[in-house]
């Protein structure tokens, strides 16, 4: 066998906190901002075969995810089922597409509603070794991430196998843990993945989208620099050196929402996180809301309830219970 051998395993985890969900995503550092209304609920199915790692993400509301890949692995990702639109760097994706990530990819993806997405990755050494024998070409990660549209039959096979693996992980995890069956599954998946990568049409890489991606990276860097602080459009435009109109264009394209909406959602989420952790005998909704720059409290409570389905006081009181 080529490469380091790992013991096969699988895990199914359910989350009600977007931050916990984001922390559980492998192969990168991720952050999630929920944009849909209602109580967040998600599931991550993780399957580790000998060399191949897989994940399936199920989320019940629309969201924005930002990921910085860790490198060291060749990663692909794809939407699993038709439904509310999904976007990667502002480009719409369907289950016939897959994304081939560059190493250490830094990107935004967003969904317009409930979504199921999948990812797979192999160590660089492994993908380099199988490229020529299997595909007759180099399959190392590209210099820039891009979207592929594999032949329908190849993509359908990959989707079926990935879904089957996810189902087995939930219903018969002992099958995944068995080295022989894990190897069989892994080989089938690798073959399906390579078939998709070598016979696909690549999407056109537009320079405008690249420029927007650069702006969004600066945007994200600023947000990452102040993870627990409220940020506003005037100071963001000042810090990253773009006019509001340009920032709005980039955010609409890559996040699916305006920067104002995104920043509001972020502040709301930070407030909700703190409300959920605070001791109601010591803290008040007003104190926590003002920490994130909210000063119109009636409006804060109204918007909070519209987004999360409950008043902020209920979130705070729940911790006490």
């Amino acid at each position: 066998m080529i490469g380091e051998v790992h013991v096969p395993s699988s895990a199914v985890r359910v989350f009600t906190d977007p931050d916990d969900h984001a922390a559980a995503i492998r192969q990168g550092v991720s952050e999630m901002t929920v944009t849909g209304r209602g109580v967040f609920r998600s599931e991550i199915v993780r399957i580790d075969l000998h060399n191949l790692w897989m994940q399936r993400f199920t989320e019940n509301v629309s969201r924005i995810k930002h990921t910085i890949g860790l490198g060291g692995r060749a990663v692909i990702a794809f939407p699993v089922q038709p439904g509310p639109a999904q976007f990667w760097q502002g480009v719409a994706l369907t289950p016939v597409n897959l994304i081939r990530h560059r190493e250490g990819a830094n990107y935004y993806q967003h969904s317009a509603g409930a979504s199921v997405t999948a990812s797979m990755s192999l160590p660089l050494s492994e993908i380099a070794a199988i490229g020529t024998p299997l595909a007759g070409c180099d399959l190392l990660p590209p210099r820039d991430s891009f979207i592929l549209t594999p032949p329908p039959s190849a993509m359908a096979r990959l989707q079926r196998l990935h879904a089957a693996a996810g189902h087995i992980a939930k219903t018969h995890p002992d099958v995944i843990a068995h080295p022989a069956s894990a190897r069989g599954l892994e080989q089938a998946l690798i073959e399906a993945m390579v078939t998709c990568l070598t016979n696909a049409d690549a999407s056109e890489d537009r320079s405008a989208r690249r420029r927007h991606a650069v702006i969004m990276r600066r945007f994200h860097r600023l947000i990452a620099e102040y993870p627990d602080q409220a940020l506003y459009i005037p100071e963001i435009c000042k810090a990253i050196g773009v006019a509001e109109r340009t920032l709005r264009l980039c955010c609409q394209e890559q996040l699916g929402v305006s920067p104002k909406q995104f920043l509001l959602m972020r502040r709301m989420q930070l407030a909700r996180r703190d409300l959920g952790k605070a001791d109601p005998s010591n803290a008040t909704v007003t104190e926590i809301a003002t920490c994130y720059g909210f000063w119109q409290f009636g409006q804060f409570a109204g918007v909070y309830k519209a987004i999360f389905g409950e008043l902020p006081s209920v979130t705070l009181a729940r911790r006490g219970e």
Binding site: A230, P234, K238, E244, T286, G293, W295, Q296
Partner: protein, 280 residues
């Protein structure tokens, strides 16, 4: 440090003191009713916000500080806002005044108006960053007719900030809440001013200049100008022109203005003497 103050003024000098951060203001009461005004001021990190409710008609001369940009707003509803240098503001209008500018203001009775100030450099920087355009700092006050949506947002935020100062002053003091308020106000102000065509409100520029010089003459050597002829000689304008300008800018003639100014000055001196005697 963010803060808010509410001042109830029972005299012209009280109002001048309460608005000292707005600029150098000189107020002359023209009405006979008992003077009453309420000034709410919110001081944020760089931005200041005011709301003023006045009961009595008066004229005033305002010198804006050399490093400040001032946006005068008409929040709407009765009572009407003042007339600024002959310019009537409609509900939702914003009058942008450049650094160091002089304005006259007059009211014909109860009035309600608002203001937002920001250091000129900061305002220009935010305008450029947010719009991608260079702001031509108004030489004289420029009137803007903001679009309904942009105007409403600015007026809403202004009203909310003033209300917060009155009902929840501890909110203003909180650094994060104050920062949020300031950023939202700056954003709304820039959007309001950039979204709509500007109108140079320096129309009565020449009259404004004449009346400004008249006010300066009265302040410097009031006893010297016992009659209108003396003013005209010093200002280099005809009596007819001087009267027209005063009517347009102040709403009253030069003789009435001088009379009221001198009477007001005498009252202030007398009040000071009384206060000094009481202190002793």
């Amino acid at each position: 440090m963010p803060a808010s103050t509410i001042a109830v003024c029972t005299g012209a000098s009280d109002l001048e003191a309460a608005l000292q951060n707005l600029g150098d203001l000189n107020v002359i009461v023209t009405g006979r009713e008992e003077f009453r005004a309420r000034v709410t001021e919110v001081e944020l990190q760089n931005l200041r916000v005011w709301a003023v409710h006045e009961r009595v008609s008066r004229v005033g001369f305002l010198q804006i500080p050399a490093d400040i940009v001032l946006a005068l707003i008409a929040p709407g509803g009765p009572p009407s806002p003042p007339i600024w240098s002959g310019i009537t503001l409609d509900k939702g209008d914003v009058l942008l005044c450049g650094p160091g500018r002089c304005l006259h203001m007059r009211t014909a009775g109860p009035s309600h108006w608002g203001a937002i100030s920001l250091p000129a450099g900061d305002f220009a920087a935010y305008f450029a960053m947010l719009t991608g355009q260079v702001l031509t700092m108004p030489i004289l006050a420029q009137r803007r007719g903001p679009s309904a949506a942009n105007c409403r947002r600015l007026m809403q935020l202004h009203t909310a900030a003033i209300r917060a100062a009155g009902m929840r002053p501890h909110t203003i003091v909180d650094p994060e809440a104050a920062h949020g308020m300031e950023q939202q106000l700056i954003h709304a102000l820039v959007k309001c001013l950039s979204a709509c065509p500007s109108e140079d409100a320096a129309g009565p520029h020449e009259c404004q200049d004449v009346v400004t010089r008249l006010a300066q003459l009265l302040r410097s050597q009031p006893e010297r100008y016992a009659n209108q002829t003396a003013f005209c000689a010093e200002l280099g304008v005809s009596l007819g022109h001087l009267r027209r300008c005063c009517k347009q800018i102040l709403g009253i003639g030069p003789a009435s203005y001088a009379h009221l100014y001198l009477a007001d000055r005498a009252r202030r001196v007398a009040r000071k003497r009384t206060a000094h005697r009481i202190a002793l």
